[in-house]
């Protein structure tokens, strides 16, 4: 297996001896997937009404995985995080802005990091009113704790997507604030995300010119594919790309991009190599079954090429690195957005993750240019 050399080896001498030091002349990176965390639920208290804080304490988060906390697919490391991202002062990885700044923003030359809060954020909760209250609280908490004090961080508007009206209200509330750079949803929703019930969300996102992130995970109550529930974490991890494909198929075939020509959708944390095969499959089927979908005026691959972006994490690692470069070429160099997934364990370092043989100008495009236009950053 050909191991990857760092993109700029002369600028990237490994050094674990002290805090990361910003190195001059390094590319300024746009990171499409950073995960902030709260130290404890107490951090959300200032942003919740008494009624909902009491509800949270009494009934807690209730979602279709049936668990109050620990996922039925336990992770391979505590909280699925890098072991070196636990703040010394305590609290979970991602909860210390100071450590995020020094270890990641400074250390990895991040110019902008786009936030995607995960965990018990209210998304997918059975109680729709509670879901809406939690999402609002999480958005306010993001702003107070991360995006106001640190201009390099941009928030993701967490929406209670199973309640369309509440989601639109939340986008109207947060959309005007330039601290937010995306609408944040999860891939495993109650119906495929192209379903008409979710369209008002896309209408609102389009109105504010915000891309919609569909990040892997979510608790739909269904196994990740129609083949049933796998046993192991390794299967769940490898299976995330299927949930991304379900979303892309649905958005395209339901006609979301026909209806919302300004909408951009970013598939987050599902890797990217699945996209060409899916595009080709959908094109062949469209040719065959055009009469089932007369609302589509163009081929699926054209909609995908114009509206769908994919983040690069987790970076694909075939035995022959040239295969990844093929795939990137097929997807289109302008559709790929670097993401680190900091502070999770399958994190990608922007200067070490990419395959050997990637031209520096392509690296720059993926890490520093594409995100600028998708997230509308100055």
């Amino acid at each position: 297996m050909q191991l990857d050399a760092p993109i700029a080896p002369e600028l990237d001498v490994a050094d674990a001896s002290g805090p990361a030091v910003a190195r001059p002349n390094r590319l300024a990176v746009i990171d499409g997937d950073v995960h902030p965390a709260w130290r404890s639920q107490e951090d959300l208290k200032p942003f919740l009404s008494k009624r909902w804080w009491d509800h949270l304490q009494t009934y807690g988060s209730r979602r279709k995985n049936g668990s109050t906390g620990q996922e039925p697919y336990p992770k391979s490391a505590p909280l699925a995080c890098r072991r070196d991202a636990w703040p010394e002062e305590g609290g979970r990885p991602g909860s210390s802005l100071a450590l995020m700044q020094s270890q990641h923003l400074d250390g990895n030359s991040i110019e902008f990091g786009i936030l995607g809060p995960l965990g018990a954020t209210g998304q997918g909760d059975f109680n729709l009113d509670f879901s809406a209250a939690m999402c609002s609280a999480v958005n306010d908490w993001q702003r107070e704790t991360f995006t106001r004090p640190e201009k390099r961080l941009k928030g993701g508007i967490v929406v209670p997507y199973e309640d369309t009206a509440a989601s639109v209200a939340e986008i109207d509330r947060c959309g005007p604030d330039p601290d937010f750079a995306q609408v944040f949803m999860l891939t495993r929703s109650q119906e495929p995300l192209g379903s008409r019930r979710y369209w008002p969300i896309y209408e609102a996102a389009q109105r504010y010119k915000l891309p919609v992130a569909a990040h892997v995970f979510g608790t739909s109550g269904h196994p990740v594919s129609g083949a049933g529930w796998p046993s192991f974490y390794v299967e769940e991890g490898a299976g995330h790309s299927t949930s991304c494909q379900t979303v892309v198929s649905s958005l395209v075939i339901e006609g979301v991009f026909e209806r919302f020509p300004g909408l951009k959708v970013v598939m987050v944390e599902g890797g990217f190599a699945w996209l060409p095969a899916l595009s080709w499959r959908l094109d062949k089927l469209f040719e065959r079954m055009r009469d089932e979908v007369p609302h589509l005026k163009r081929k699926p691959s054209e909609y995908i090429r114009e509206h769908v972006y994919v983040t690069t994490q987790p970076m694909e690692e075939p035995d022959d690195r040239r295969h990844v470069l093929d795939v990137m070429e097929w997807i289109g160099w302008d559709r790929l957005l670097f993401a680190s997934d900091y502070p999770h364990w399958d994190f990608d370092d922007p200067f070490r993750a990419f395959p050997a043989g990637l031209k520096p100008e392509r690296h720059r495009q993926i890490c520093a240019e594409n995100g600028r236009s998708v997230y509308r950053l100055s």
Binding site: R188, V234, V293
Partner: protein, 357 residues
């Protein structure tokens, strides 16, 4: 008849049960009468709507009856026309959809006996999969034991989307019986519809349903490897049928990458998933999801890292290609021979050699 396909082994053709009376003829008295008494019209899944374009290619539709309902018509359209040595019949009658496991077993028996009588007995080139009642692995093993002595059965048929991933120990009695009889496991696109067909529930369009089938294969492949099926049953071979092919390279990159980091969760996986795939997994070639020009086909086949992975199939009568363009463009002559003959022979031990009748 041109000679370019002569001797080829078509690993996926679909005989269609014309009506329930055809199956009743192969049921015992209780089930025959039950069908009448309860007005059982039959089990037709929505996986292949009869008049949908994909289901039967226009020139294979012959008025009300398709070429897939009669062995002579299929022979004329396919085996005679091209000079195939064999074709493997995968009957997709929706036995897997039935909830009553005993009824499922009765229908499975009837389907297998119908395939024998109407297809295998009438054309010596034909081979078939054993349709099993997956609803109860013990009953499935009984059916395998019943059919296995007939060497024209070369495979045990599963669908890509059932209630549990196929690597789970629930199914091991079936895998054990298959391995014992040198029967290949065939996993074919399709669903029992006992689950929503995607991880986000039910999509609106048939196009999405068919597209989603490739995702079921992701789960099945991950399951067979992670659960250690090939450690438990080292002789077992599995063919992924009508899957789309080009999904598998990228899926394996993910599975291998995750495995390296979480190996201790599944320590019986003592070599990389890629190695298990090369030794145990094969794919039929139609449909091959790639642009028609063929420019990417070579690179996609490179991703498989083995020229033994692909098995020729027409997927008759599904409309996957036009005319006689049964292989995607872009495949060179030496690989073509492997796909048409060598790889199918290796994937189906009962096809040739000491098992041939």
């Amino acid at each position: 008849m041109s000679t370019e396909w002569a001797g080829a082994i078509d690993c996926d053709v679909h005989p269609r049960v014309p009506n329930i009376r055809a199956l009743q003829a192969h049921m015992d008295e209780y089930w025959r009468d039950t069908v009448e008494l309860r007005g059982i019209e039959g089990f037709e899944s929505i996986a292949y709507p009869t008049n949908a374009p994909l289901t039967i290619r226009p020139d294979w539709r012959e008025g009300k009856a398709g070429a897939d309902e009669h062995v002579e018509r299929m022979a004329k359209a396919l085996l005679d026309r091209h000079g195939f040595a064999h074709a493997i019949c995968n009957c997709l009658y929706a036995v897997q959809m039935i909830r009553d496991e005993h009824m499922a077993a009765a229908f499975a028996r009837a389907v297998n006996d119908w395939v024998k009588a109407e297809w295998l007995d009438k054309d010596t080139r034909l081979r078939a999969s054993i349709v099993v009642p997956v609803q109860n692995p013990e009953l499935a093993v009984e059916e395998i034991e019943r059919c296995a002595p007939d060497k024209r059965f070369v495979q045990v048929l599963f669908l890509a989307m059932g209630e549990l991933p196929l690597g789970k120990s629930y199914f091991w009695p079936i895998h054990r019986a298959a391995e014992r009889h040198d029967l290949t496991i065939g996993i074919h696109a399709g669903s029992s519809y006992h689950h929503a067909i995607t991880g986000s529930g039910w999509p609106s369009y048939y196009l999405e349903d068919y597209a989603a089938q490739s995702l079921g294969f992701h789960t099945q492949l991950g399951s067979l490897i992670s659960e250690g099926v090939f450690v438990k049953f080292p002789k077992l071979k599995v063919v992924l049928i009508e899957s789309g092919v080009s999904w598998i390279g990228p899926y394996l990159w993910r599975l291998n990458k995750f495995w390296r980091g979480v190996r201790n969760e599944v320590p019986w996986i003592d070599r990389s998933p890629n190695e298990f795939v090369r030794d145990h997994i094969r794919l039929t070639i139609q449909p091959f999801d790639a642009p028609a020009s063929g420019a990417e086909v070579g690179r996609l086949i490179d991703q498989l890292q083995s020229d033994e992975m692909l098995l020729f199939s027409s997927d008759f009568p599904h409309w996957q290609f036009d005319g006689d363009a049964m292989l995607p463009a872009g495949i060179d002559a030496s690989l073509r021979r492997k796909i048409l003959v060598d790889n199918p022979l290796a994937a189906y031990p009962r096809l040739g050699g000491r098992h041939a009748t």
